[in-house]
Symmetry: D2
Subunit: 155 residues, 4 copies
DNA sequence: TTTT
DNA sequence: TTTT
């Protein structure tokens, strides 16, 4: 069918760290779920209500898969632009199931980290605190151990 | 969650006429499915491929439900802007199923008919005419015979 | 600045045929203006009002420039997705002027023709009519005379 | 013209605090400019380049004007969805000038603050504390001094 | 599962 | 004028 458009724009927060799959063909696929929510005040009760919606994102676009792997993590706020695709799969009982995903294909889609760059070392945090389990750094994913990425950071 | 966005933009064609449900509460809900498609040439075989994606649209927005009911029909090309919502339902075997829909809520969403105004069967009218003064009708769907809708036509 | 988005989505009609510029560097730039409009009923007078907005589109993206050149013409309905850019230029009196355009850069943006494929030869039209100046064919741009485009048609 | 769409989506940072105008008719108009930018590496020189684009936003939508006035300030990161409008104005020399703006009309458009809730000056508070109970305040701009806004915060 |  |  000619002349159609299939576009989704989501701004939300990741529920967990992204999952990275390296295919046998040598490409990388990154998946994560991202939440949006709406709040409103119930007319009758006057209570504040909230509804959270979860969206499954699948990234085939190589460049964006790299970005996702490197910079997104649980809690990250991100802009995701992709297309809707409903995938059929088989449940264990043999029945067909359908899952709708937001897909970022090769050469298509956008992904932008919306968290503000974390300002340097939050050195104050550790002053006299125990916080034993806490990471010394809350900086973005590229850890000191995995130092690199001297190349372009796309956001 | 604050600061989130959940937006879908679809341009496609309706697979069937819309289904209209009048609720006991006096409101109207309109549903239809709309297809988008992509075509590409397969690298290996060189064949042209096509994949069609179907999207379920549910309109709660009253004004847009009216528009959908009046002007959309099987084959109509439309612009739909709404939000993603995944609804849980029970299959006959008692298991949970999920369906993702594009929802146009009250005061939210957009719906625009993209078909050109149909020059209603202009063929008969013009036989032998000079058409000097203009076509008998370039009006949208509400034909002269079914004069109706003297109010705002929202597209 | 990191984490920004600059996106425009227009559906409208071209005011004139696109203008094509072939640069000395061998690339092609296509420009056109496209109109959107809003109609509303004036509260006071009850009159129907309309406001038309014109948008200047500039296509640097090669593939989309080809599409525009081949398939768009005056009156075409199109979906355009690009980014805003404000360009400074010099008026004849030497003062600075600014013009905001919708730009489709290399590898960015989308362009989709929304006119329905015109149904073959509108043979009826010519029955006994004079319409001397009228084109015999209202078919899309690739005329029979300029036969081909055996390659991919991207919509 | 029927069936048109005029939509702009911007995510960027405000260059200054918004300007609020109270009209004689009792309505409020809020204006601000918001920057988006692109960075790329120049192929020839290998240098990193950046281009910043400034967009003028005008909010007539009352609810969103309130949000802008209350919560946006210089440096804020925001999602803005509106429509393009080119306004004509007279320069001092009497010549016509044009300015393109992103307009959020009554009942139209969206505005979402994307900054994470600021854990207001957490530094002083946490010195030597266990932070057991949580930050004293996670509220946005409305400071404790100006306690107000017991109503809905729309993001 | 996120976030507020 | 923002931001990185």
């Amino acid at each position: 069918m000619s002349g159609t458009v299939n576009k989704v724009i989501i701004i939300g927060h990741l529920g967990k760290d992204p999952e990275v799959t390296n295919t046998s063909a040598g490409s990388k696929i990154v998946r994560f779920s991202i939440a949006t929510s709406e709040t409103w005040r119930d007319k009758a009760s006057g209570e504040r209500k909230e509804r959270t919606e979860w969206h499954n994102v699948v990234i085939f676009n190589e460049g964006l898969a790299d970005v996702a792997e490197r910079y997104l993590k649980k809690g990250s706020k991100a802009y995701v632009e992709g297309q809707l695709a409903t995938r059929k799969w088989q449940a264990q009982d043999g029945t067909d199931r359908y899952s709708t995903e937001i897909v970022l294909k090769t050469f298509r889609g956008e992904l932008t980290l919306l968290d503000r760059a974390e300002r340097q070392a939050p050195s104050e945090e550790s002053y006299g605190t125990t916080r034993s389990s806490a990471p010394a750094s809350t900086s973005a994913k590229p850890s000191p151990v995995q130092p690199a990425f001297d190349d372009d950071i796309p956001f």
